[in-house]
């Protein structure tokens, strides 16, 4: 029964909730952005509406792929190699690479895109 497992789930969830805050390390990354600022941008822009993003409690979207292990993936959207440069370009102009795909143009600036990339690359 689902309900019987609730207390166990509960304990697990609390443990998880407490360790998430320490996830993204500070400091600059290969992309030259700040992962902390990137994390804030990701939550402000609303990436979580479509993606499940580890470390962001409100990111529970089921539209796009989950961004689990984004730092270790080899391609972006199946078309770009997962390098900081291409990631920064992708989050700025996804429609330029794959026309009419579901991901909207975010209107991010160059610097913001680097921050977001830094955060995503930190998701080991």
């Amino acid at each position: 029964m689902r309900r019987l497992s609730l207390p166990c789930l509960a304990c697990a969830a609390v443990l998880l909730a407490n360790c998430t805050a320490s996830r993204p390390p500070g400091g600059a990354s290969a992309a030259g952005g700040d992962p902390q600022r990137g994390r804030m941008l990701v939550s402000q822009v609303g990436c979580g509406a479509c993606h499940e993003i580890p470390g962001l409690r409100s990111a529970r979207g089921l539209v796009g792929p989950p961004l689990l292990h984004m730092g270790r993936r080899t391609t972006i959207a199946g078309v770009l190699p997962n390098t900081p440069e291409s990631m920064a370009r992708w989050v700025q102009h996804p429609q330029a690479f794959v026309a009419r795909n579901a991901m909207p143009e975010m209107g991010l600036s160059e610097a913001q895109a680097r921050d977001v990339t830094a955060y995503l690359e930190s998701l080991e």
Binding site: M1, R3, P7, A10, A13, V14, R57, R60
Partner: protein, 649 residues
């Protein structure tokens, strides 16, 4: 047994006479085996079952609460789905209010009343058993839905139109409606029993101004229940009709959604007093024992008990201040709700004066009773704040209310009950609870409770609504919620200590004497635990504290505990006049019988059939009920020998 007689002058006997009690043991003892167990009508047996069952529900409700606290420990947690959360908070409320708070007091009162009143049993022992069996049937019925994920999910006050079939089509609400009607039968039957017991089966000399305050509390609660429970049973019946047969009582358009709220709170508010007044009575009786003096202000406290309930019937609208009522009505119900503080103040100052003018002995029971006074005042002042209509517009439906109602229900129910357990455990089991563990028990519960619930007032003022399964960050609620969750864990640990203490002491606790606290009232005049017949001879009393008369040097009051009526021609006790308690009848008490169990089983089957629309099951239950009633009312042969009596009615 001797042949039936019309009148008799009962024998008077002195305690210590050889062979006294052996025959009574024979007459009153429980038969062995499962059949004997389900047939027992002994109030002590039923009282213990009530207490154990209610505690089991307390722990279930506590686990539900703890899971909710984990979900709310931080913003946007995803431990529970919204639907799971809704069922949890509803079942938590239903469990604590209906399956714990009232039954635990019924349990203590059932166990204690005949002992306090110097009687051998309640006035209607079989109704007593019936009330317990229906209670547990209703509890299982309500939980049956929850276990399969179809528990009630509209909060314990179940507002329509959300509870309509149109908005909540599952069986969830039907289970709740039928379960509460079933439980209402149990409450009604039990209440009638308390009222008649109070009026008729006190021992000679125990006039109404000499009964312990606990009996005033339970009597008041019972009268309140008799007058209030029909309202909620009716409301749920009408709702069930709306859902099943398309009637128009509460639906939008034809019906009146607000009618539900009126009916619910006309019941709900008196009910709140019904689940605290007996517990306040426990404090009024227990505290003086440890303060080594009689309660200050017996008469004002007894009157305050009754007054609280009487006023309690006139304040239901304060639960509905935000429904858009006219100003005049708001003023009136605010005034009534504010004035109801007065009788509570009487009790608080009576207890405080008892401490100050007494010489308290600090035991665990005393700590729980004294701690209760503080919690009572906190719950009281927050209630006073919500009594003011304009202020209630801000406070209602926030965590301020959650804090308030927990200070009332845990502070004024759970704390006295745990104190009562420490106080009466030796009488019930013959063993003492461990005092050292008891101190730990009190302080973890007291601190845990306050850490968990005091900050909720702040959450309320910061605007956190109740009954939300999650909340966004940035509202200023996150840290406080984490503290609340940690406090609730400490409180849970305190309750766990209590369970450990009970488990250990049951086996290895120090043996208790008949009167380990040197207490004043009649339950301490018999052995620990008491024999099945309670008293070998019926005592007669001449004061409020029959066991303290010598210590207080009261020469004019002479209760007689060592000599009294024998009454051994079958199960008998004495019935007395309602006010002065003069003996006027030898009351014949019924034998053990499985009829109450069968009747409750029949009712449970009928209600299950109604919930699932299995009408054949309803028929089966009805047959069972007829069989049970036949057993119940079958004319008594010994009486039939002599024309003129058709058994017990």
């Amino acid at each position: 047994m001797s042949a039936w007689e019309d009148t008799r002058a009962p024998e008077t006997r002195r305690l210590g006479a050889p062979g006294l009690g052996r025959e009574l043991e024979e007459i009153w003892g429980e038969k062995p085996g499962l059949l004997g167990w389900i047939s027992s009508v002994d109030h002590k047996e039923i009282g213990k079952r009530y207490i154990v069952t209610a505690f089991a529900f307390l722990i279930l409700g506590g686990l539900e609460a703890f899971v909710m606290r984990l979900q709310l420990a931080g913003p946007e947690l995803r431990l529970l789905t919204p639907e799971a959360y809704d069922q949890l908070f509803t079942m938590h409320g239903v469990t604590m209010i209906f399956l714990y708070a009232a039954p635990i007091l019924s349990g203590f009162s059932n166990y204690l009343w005949p002992l306090l009143l110097g009687s051998r049993d309640m006035a209607f022992p079989r109704l007593n058993a019936l009330s317990y069996w229906i209670y547990i049937a209703a509890g299982l019925f309500l939980y049956a839905g929850f276990v399969v994920g179809r528990g009630p999910n509209d909060g314990w006050f179940n507002y329509v139109p959300y509870a309509d079939r149109a908005h909540d089509p599952g069986i969830n609400i039907d289970v709740y409606a039928l379960g509460l009607i079933l439980l209402g039968i149990s409450t009604t039957v039990g209440s009638a029993n308390f009222v008649v017991t109070f009026l008729r089966t006190r021992c000679p000399g125990m006039s109404v101004n000499r009964v312990p305050i606990l009996t005033w509390g339970t009597l008041t609660a019972s009268v309140g229940n008799l007058l209030a429970v029909p309202s909620v049973s009716l409301a749920f019946f009408l709702l069930w009709m709306d859902r099943q047969f398309g009637t128009h009582f509460f639906d939008t358009g034809q019906g009146q959604p607000l009618l539900w709220q009126h009916l619910f709170w006309m019941f709900g508010h008196p009910w709140v007093y019904a689940i605290v007044l007996p517990a306040m009575g426990m404090v009024s009786d227990g505290l003086p024992t440890f303060c080594r003096r009689p309660l200050v202000g017996y008469t004002p406290v007894a009157l305050a008990t009754v007054t609280t309930m009487a006023l309690g019937f006139g304040v239901w609208v304060h639960h509905m201040f935000a429904t858009g009522l006219p100003s005049l009505s708001l003023s009136f119900f605010s005034a009534a709700s504010i004035i109801i503080v007065i009788p509570s103040a009487v009790a608080v100052f009576a207890w405080t004066a008892t401490i100050w003018t007494g010489r308290p002995v600090i035991t665990t029971a005393f700590l729980f009773f004294a701690g209760m006074i503080v919690l009572f005042v906190i719950g009281g002042v927050s209630g006073f704040m919500t009594a003011s209509a304009p202020l209630d517009w801000q406070l209602t439906d926030t965590y301020f209310i959650v804090a308030h109602l927990h200070y009332v229900l845990i502070g004024i129910n759970v704390f006295p009950v745990v104190g009562g357990l420490y106080y009466w455990f030796p009488k019930i089991t013959g063993r003492m609870l461990d005092e050292r563990l008891g101190r730990w028990n009190f302080w973890t519960m007291f601190l845990g409770f306050n850490i968990a619930f005091l900050p909720m007032h702040l959450l309320g003022v910061l605007g956190m609504p109740r009954r939300i399964y999650t909340y966004p960050d940035g509202m200023g609620w996150s840290t406080t919620n984490l503290i609340v969750t940690l406090g609730s864990a400490l409180f849970a640990a305190g309750v766990l200590l209590l369970l450990v203490n009970v488990a250990v002491s049951l086996r290895r606790g120090a043996k208790a004497s008949d009167n380990p606290w040197a207490a004043p009232t009649l339950e301490w005049a018999t052995t620990s635990p008491p024999p099945p017949y309670n008293f070998a001879v019926i005592p007669s009393v001449a004061s409020r504290h029959p066991l303290w008369e010598a210590r207080l040097g009261e020469s004019d009051a002479r209760s007689r505990l060592d000599e009294g009526l024998l009454l051994d021609h079958g199960r008998e006790t004495i019935a007395t006049t309602p006010l002065d308690a003069e003996p006027n009848l030898i009351l014949e008490m019924p034998p053990d019988t499985p009829a109450p169990f069968l009747l409750a089983l029949g009712l449970a089957i009928i209600f299950s059939g109604a919930a699932g629309h299995w009408w054949w099951l309803v028929g089966l239950g009805a047959v069972l009920i007829i069989v049970a009633l036949l057993i119940w009312f079958w004319p008594n042969r010994t009486h039939a020998d002599e024309p003129g009596q058709a058994g017990h009615v």
